[in-house]
């Protein structure tokens, strides 16, 4: 049986939206779909090796932007963020209710072989290099290649 394909464009760097993207991605991969995740703009923060605030980039603007945005541990909630307290509370509530947390979903995505792709243009603007991203990012591509990869796929933008 031919596998269905799903491509998720991860534009958001907000905790709840990223959670939705990984829930969808892992659920799809676990039910026999071929899944790719294309991370662009704020979504790139999810893939940074340094998960807290760090000075990434060459120029002053790159470094300030990347420092302020931070990595996976610093993703804000899209609403009621309360200075970064809410994502921690949300993670606590998820654990308490035996629901997979964001790091657990990301680990599951890696184990399921979901393809992590980074947007070349967004990386260029933000001064992020491939070596700043986790090793699971095998490809850095542009929109034309992404669309080519996704010819047979359903595309979801988050």
């Amino acid at each position: 049986m031919e596998k269905e394909e799903l491509s998720i464009v991860c534009f958001s760097g907000e905790f709840d939206r990223v959670l939705a993207a990984f829930t969808l991605a892992t659920g799809a991969a676990a039910t026999n779909r071929d899944v790719s995740m294309f991370f662009t703009f704020w979504g790139l923060n999810v893939l940074k090796k340094k998960q807290d605030h760090s000075w990434i980039g060459k120029g002053i603007l790159d470094r300030v932007f990347n420092f302020l945005m931070g990595g996976l541990n610093k993703l804000p909630l899209s609403r009621l963020n309360f200075g970064g307290v809410s994502p921690k509370l949300m993670t606590y509530m998820m654990r308490k209710n035996n629901v997979a947390t964001l790091p657990e979903l990301i680990e599951a995505a890696k184990q399921l072989g979901i393809r992590f792709i980074a947007c070349e243009m967004a990386m260029h603007i933000l001064g992020v290099k491939k070596e700043d991203l986790i090793d699971e990012v095998k490809e850095v591509i542009g929109v034309a290649t992404f669309l080519d990869y996704s010819k047979e796929a359903k595309i979801i933008f988050i």
Partner: protein, 73 residues
């Protein structure tokens, strides 16, 4: 070889993720028993296993809400 997985305390999507990862460890002839809840896991775990080329040899409806699905490679 027999494998066993209890996903009655898991929630979506980890119900499917755990089954998928366990299925990927199986060799031909191996059997996986999955204890699961009715509703989405019972509706979709057997279906998804069949789509991946596995054989669902038995679905034992136990005392609600727990059921046992046996999958063979």
């Amino acid at each position: 070889m027999k494998h066993f997985l209890d996903i009655t305390k898991e929630h979506c999507p980890m119900t499917f993720v755990k089954v998928k990862l366990e299925l990927s460890k199986m060799s031909p002839g191996d059997q996986l028993e999955v204890l699961l809840n009715e509703g989405e896991p019972l509706d979709n775990v057997p279906k998804s296993a069949v789509e991946q080329g596995f054989k669902v040899t038995s679905i034992r409806l136990g005392e609600k809400p727990h059921h046992l699905v046996i999958i063979e490679r």
